[in-house]
């Protein structure tokens, strides 16, 4: 089973829920941190990293000996990543989406592919929790290919927990698509509710069952609960605001390891999810 943890709004507690859930379950579980722009799960899990590798996406390389400057490659590229000016071909690798169209269309076979560095993947473990995350290279704009690379480490025989990025656009979709359950973490504030609604729309589009965790559940107002009721979204867990939790988080500590009673609550959350996931 694959559980993705999403939110719409950032900073609602996705990573807190993902790491505490993974550690509570303990064995036969893997945690994939797909928030490759700002991965944080490792700060709480402190995994031992066993392997590190760079990830590349293909971008064109032009052999000017073979090139006849026919411009077909520039014409086919919808991302303006190739320009032909007189007898010169310019490539803009940072604009390339790696579709391979230029290579396919070139009548002289003058286009081959080289790699653009997207970032790194690190693989490791903490006790019995298998851990993988990606870290987008600073300056790199496209995170979905790196997210897909992190997800390629999914072990079908295990429980996989995915820490998704915030938002509702392509990176989040890349992290949630094809998962069995989306656990939404929100907070009961106008911003939390607004972005939750957007995230719920995205999950509906993908047709994945979903449930809510309300973090800092006693701040703000009641509108998240009213919305959940109206939309038939089950509230699977509430985490009240507690300065001790906030301070433990600030130091990189896990709630289940610092405060009594929380491990049981996270295990119960997992039981609830198992019942709901298809």
């Amino acid at each position: 089973m694959i559980i993705s943890i999403a939110s719409g709004k950032g900073g609602t507690g996705k990573t807190t829920v993902a790491t505490n859930l993974a550690v509570s379950i303990g064995s036969g579980v893997q945690l994939l941190d797909c928030d490759v722009e700002e991965p944080n799960a490792h700060l709480f899990l402190n995994p031992v990293i066993e392997e590190k590798k760079s990830v590349f996406t293909p971008v064109p390389k032009i052999d000017e000996e073979k090139c006849t400057f026919c411009k077909k490659c520039a014409e086919i590229c919808r991302f303006k990543a190739i320009a032909v000016i007189g007898e010169m071909v310019l490539t803009f690798p940072e604009l390339c989406h790696s579709c391979g169209g230029c290579m396919e269309v070139c009548p002289e076979k003058a286009v081959t592919e080289t790699g653009r560095n997207l970032g790194v993947i690190e693989i490791g473990h903490k006790n019995n929790v298998h851990f993988v995350h990606g870290r987008l290279r600073i300056g790199e704009a496209m995170s979905p290919p790196l997210i897909r690379e992190v997800r390629s480490y999914t072990r079908p025989d295990q429980l996989t927990i995915i820490d998704a990025p915030p938002g509702t656009s392509c990176p989040v979709i890349a992290a949630m698509k094809g998962t069995d359950f989306v656990l939404m973490v929100t907070e009961p504030t106008p911003f939390g509710l607004h972005d939750l609604k957007l995230a719920v729309e995205a999950v509906k589009l993908l047709g994945i069952p979903t449930g809510l965790v309300i973090n800092r559940s006693d701040i703000g107002d009641n509108r998240v609960k009213e919305y959940a009721e109206k939309e038939n979204l089950p509230i699977l867990m509430e985490i009240p605001f507690d300065r001790k939790i906030a301070e433990a988080y600030s130091r990189g500590e896990l709630i289940v390891e610092e405060l009594p009673g929380w491990k049981e609550k996270f295990l119960k959350l997992y039981d609830n999810i198992k019942e709901m996931a298809v």
């Binding site: 719409g8 709004k9 950032g10 900073g11 609602t12 990573t15 722009e37 700002e38 944080n40 700060l43 709480f44 086919i76 919808r78 991302f79 989406h97 790696s98 579709c99 391979g100 169209g101 396919e104 269309v105 987008l136 600073i138 300056g139 790199e140 704009a141 496209m142 995170s143 990025p165 915030p166 938002g167 509702t168 656009s169 392509c170 990176p171 979709i173 698509k177 504030t189 106008p190 911003f191 607004h194 972005d195 957007l198 729309e201 995205a202 589009l205 993908l206 701040i219 703000g220 107002d221 906030a246 301070e247 988080y249 600030s250 130091r251 990189g252």
Partner: protein, 294 residues
């Protein structure tokens, strides 16, 4: 004219609440919400939409079954596995490269431009505002960010306003890169947690990469003063101006619930004073004055 862009790396550090507080303080400005993916600033500024435009992103492939001979070439060429065995295009997976369109021997694939969002010019009690809404699960957020920042600049020029204050998205990827190019300065709002520090370091690297000067303020500073000091030390090492500390104060949530900025909710508070001091340092900074231009 100068543009200040507020970013954070990590989400939920208080970017938009602080941005809204600046809306109360700043004069002669255009507000711009560049967090098009999960825009929230309008919840506090209550914009009255004056003009509404569709945002056309890229194209999405559509296969016409009456022309399609199911030769399979498109499925072979598509690197996103967006074409099913039944020769239907999964619009979520489709990257919009158009390779299938160009190579289809039957010309059975069309590539209509898709409307993937809307953008707005609005009137607010703080002045004009440019904002947008990207459609759910859409691509091209960077393109939309670039567009609304250009429109904010045009609007400022037209109305002879000399300042643009932009709420940026979280992260360091495509929409953030589109948010910071050409800005006079970035305000990085962070929080004193292990993740706040980690993400602020990455966003500071991004600012340096694109050569935009960054300034730092620590929100909820009293949650962990050791982390606050670590953030301020790092900021100084990265040659970024440290603007000040804002206490952990429920006034932000309380005013948000009422759809107000912290200054509208409570005209005199210690937290408000801290935000005012930060704002003064920003507008008096060399970056927002003689150096650089939008």
């Amino acid at each position: 004219m100068k543009e200040l862009v507020v970013i954070s790396g990590k989400g939920g550090t208080g970017k938009t609440s602080i941005m809204a507080a600046f809306a109360s303080l700043a004069k002669n400005k255009v507000l711009c919400d560049a967090d098009v993916d999960a825009a929230d600033l309008h919840l506090l500024t209550d914009p009255e939409i004056k003009k509404r435009y569709d945002f056309q992103g890229g194209g999405i492939a559509v296969i016409y079954p009456d022309k399609c001979t199911q030769c399979g070439l498109c499925r072979e060429l598509c690197r996103w596995e967006a074409i099913s065995e039944e020769f239907e295009v999964d619009s979520i997976e489709c990257e919009g490269c158009g390779v299938c369109v160009d190579f289809c021997p039957e010309q059975a694939i069309e590539f209509p431009l898709s409307t993937c969002g809307q953008w707005f010019i609005s009137h607010t009690r703080f002045g004009p505002m440019v904002h947008a809404r990207l459609g759910i699960a859409e691509e091209n957020s960077g393109k939309l960010v670039t567009l609304i920042r250009q429109e904010a600049k045009k609007l400022a020029e037209k109305n002879k306003l000399d300042l643009i204050v932009t709420d940026g998205p979280p992260g360091v990827g495509c929409p953030v890169i589109a948010s910071i190019g050409g800005a006079a300065a970035l305000l990085i709002v962070t929080e004193p947690t292990v993740s706040g520090l980690h993400d602020m370091e990455r966003v500071a690297q991004l600012a340096a990469h694109f050569k935009v000067p960054g300034m730092v303020c620590v929100n909820k500073f009293d949650l962990n003063t050791d982390q606050t000091q670590a953030i301020e030390k790092l900021a100084k090492e990265k040659k970024m101006m440290v603007l000040g500390r804002i206490p952990f104060d429920p006034v932000f949530t309380r005013s948000m619930v009422q759809g107000k900025t912290i200054f509208e909710y409570n005209t005199e508070s210690i937290t408000g004073q801290a935000v005012k001091r930060i704002w003064r340092k920003i507008i008096e900074s060399p970056e927002m004055n003689e150096k650089g231009n939008v």
